[in-house]
Amino acid sequence: MTAEHQGNELRIGVISFAHMHAHSYARAVCALPDAKLVGVADEDENRGRAAAEQYGTRYFSDVDQLLGSGVDAVIVCSENARHKEHVVMAARSDVHVLCEKPIAVTVSDGVEMIEACRVAGVSLATAFPVRHVPAIMRAKQMVDEGKVGEVLAVKATNHGRMPGGWFIKRELSGGGAVIDHTVHVADLLRWILKDEFKSVYAEIDTRFHDFDIDDCGTLAFEMEKGIFATLDPSWSRPRNYPTWGDVAMEIIGTDGVISVDAFSQHLVEIGDSQRPVRYRGWGDSSDLALVADFVSAVREGSRPAADGVDGLRALEVALAAYESASCGDVAVLNRVDC
């Protein structure tokens, strides 16, 4: 169904700036000619007011007020464990949703969100911006065209810095590095290989920090069609590393190898004094493309690049990794019907 927007612009609100990606999405909404940022709801008043002021929009202390203010769609960037509450509220107000990843912290929450949006007839998109990185899109195209023959294996990394804050509070995040950084690559593998996960083996630990949430690990996957893959989702980038992290893959095929590094389009900036060396990306903004895709999906009533089910499938992989690590054996994926 199409959005009941007034005028030509899709009216978009942001629910919570708890996740820092909200800033990038808000900038994207402001940059798009067919969308308008119409409000920010945040229970943290200082944070919400500052964001509203920064992007020239209205602050709502209450999510219901934002949802009742005539928005067509919202971008949910609250803490992982609160995604369900906010997405279900939006669906009940007939508002389309772009939800930050991971879609939720439990499978049942994810299913409830998908159901609520389905019943309301609104779009539910999961924020997997890496699908919109041109180098990644080109890699998928090469696989589709058989440039490396039949794909046999994939080696992937999604390293990052330890983000701190609510990310290391299990009741809000649902887990550490593994839930934070498994879902992106899990989504890419499903999308590029057009296949589902069969099993996961994971070595997970806390070895860099003095807290009780996972900060490192290495995962090994098997896909239903027999392709195997590994992923390092660790928060292993020191604060002085030149960039936040990476999303990189090597796709090994019968006729060759594709090596893709999503964020290697950067300058190297070297400062004087205390400023560490930094990478400064000059490539296309994947967040802008992600929000543009969501806006066009809502306007045209089409499916977004990654929907709620895609978000749920990626979450199932991350949760299976924790299950594998706790039982010390390979965990077989048990995909929920939805």
């Binding site: 294996a153 630990d205 290495t218 590994t230 390092d232 090994i252 019968t254």
Partner: protein, 398 residues
């Protein structure tokens, strides 16, 4: 050092001393004890036969060597004997007469298709075995029976039983056995090892090792026969498995997958958990159609190090392409040409240093950095990776 070693307690102290003097750093002992490595290491040292370790000769003796196998590794070692102050080459043995002659001529030594002349030559102290892996046991044991010390290419053997038999044959014949796990002598890996051991990276969490290149060419295409080479985990990733053992002690368990095709190509990924808790990822590839390269990333609680050989190219020669044949389209000689990179080393040359280290062991000056027992440990991890890949199970090691 005292030569009156009569009891186990004294031996133990002495071995500690020998082992740690290698590094001239006593703080390493502290670090290793903390990491739980020292006990394992001492046990390994006790296992090896050191009965001749203390007969240090006056002056430095120059050893005489025969290389058995004039393939890629034989040629690599021969170049180093040309430069060594401690060992000189006398024979090149190869079943292929022209290949033996080619290398022997280049080194100005004797070529032979039969090991006999070298084995029966009393001047020859050691045989450097550079044969395909499946021939190691036979060659090493033959050399040992002739009273020759043996320096043998990695992997030590294709099975743990074969490897142990080789060690025991060398011990019972009173000859030293060295295994060429040359990675421990690569300065970039050595520096990484020392940084880890010094504690400056803090507690190590996740490490990644990668070794990728095209399918290797060998005599009679022996690499392509899995029964003869055991593929990427045992032939290629064994370098990284040995390095993991050196840095982090023994392995707890391995989960691995590999795939091969008729082309031929083989590709393997292993997730390795060390008993110390370190999580390791090891990639071994004979599926990358590009120049061979290797890299690693080591992250500890206090910092990380990363290395990529493809980015460490101090020297590259770019040559113009051959002009096109006469009558071909215009634009002769156009195109990218060929680029060949090198990373030359002088005194830090790893192949020279592994040879010198082995002959210092033969002379009884010190224990080598790689003991045959270390090579067995690395082989066990490689075989565990194959087993995990074959069965889909997580395989415990040791």
């Amino acid at each position: 050092m005292s030569r009156n070693i009569t009891n186990r307690g004294h031996r133990l102290r002495l071995f500690y001393c020998i082992y740690f003097c290698q590094y001239h750093r006593h703080e390493i002992k502290k670090m290793m004890l903390k990491a739980g490595i020292a006990t394992a290491k001492v046990a390994v040292v006790l296992k090896s036969d050191l009965t001749q370790a203390y007969n240090v000769k006056e002056g430095v003796r120059v050893h005489t060597v025969a290389i058995w196998g004039a393939g890629h590794m034989g040629r690599t070692h021969a170049k180093r004997y040309m430069r060594s102050d401690h060992a000189k080459l006398k024979y090149v043995i190869d079943i292929d007469r022209s290949r033996a002659a080619h290398l022997a001529n280049a080194c100005d030594v004797t070529a032979t298709i039969d090991p006999g002349p070298a084995l029966f030559d009393p001047e020859v102290d050691a045989i450097d075995v550079c044969l395909p892996t499946y021939l190691h046991k036979e060659a090493v044991e033959l050399a040992a029976h002739h009273g020759k010390h043996v320096f043998c290419e990695k992997p030590i053997a294709l099975t743990v039983d074969d490897a142990n038999a080789m060690i025991s044959t060398c011990n019972s014949n009173g000859v030293k056995l060295g295994i060429a796990h040359v990675l421990r002598y690569f300065p970039e890996y050595e520096m990484a090892h020392d940084m880890i051991a010094s504690g400056r990276l803090g507690q190590i969490g996740v490490v990644r090792f990668s070794r990728t290149g095209p399918f290797p060419k060998g005599w009679n295409n022996w690499y392509a026969d899995f029964q003869l080479s055991k593929g990427v985990f045992v032939d290629l990733s064994i370098h990284d498995f040995d390095f993991l053992n050196w840095c982090f002690g023994p392995v707890e368990r391995v989960q691995a997958r590999k795939v091969s095709t008729e082309r031929p190509m083989e590709y393997g990924l292993a997730v390795v958990r060390m008993k110390s808790g370190v999580i390791a990822h090891v990639e071994g590839s004979w599926a990358h159609p590009r120049p061979f390269s290797y890299k690693f990333e080591i992250r500890g609680s206090e910092g990380m190090i990363e290395f990529d050989s493809a980015k460490a190219k101090p020297l590259t020669l770019f040559t113009m392409p051959e002009p096109l044949a006469e009558g071909a389209a215009t634009g002769a000689g156009a195109g990218p040409g060929v680029a060949v990179s090198e990373s030359p080393l002088r005194e830090k040359d790893p192949y020279l240093r592994e040879i010198e280290d082995f002959f210092a062991y033969v002379r009884g000056e010190r224990l080598p950095r790689v003991l045959p027992e270390d090579a067995v440990e690395a082989l066990e991890v490689g075989l565990a990776a194959i087993s995990s890949s074959d069965t889909g199970e997580v395989v415990k090691v040791g």
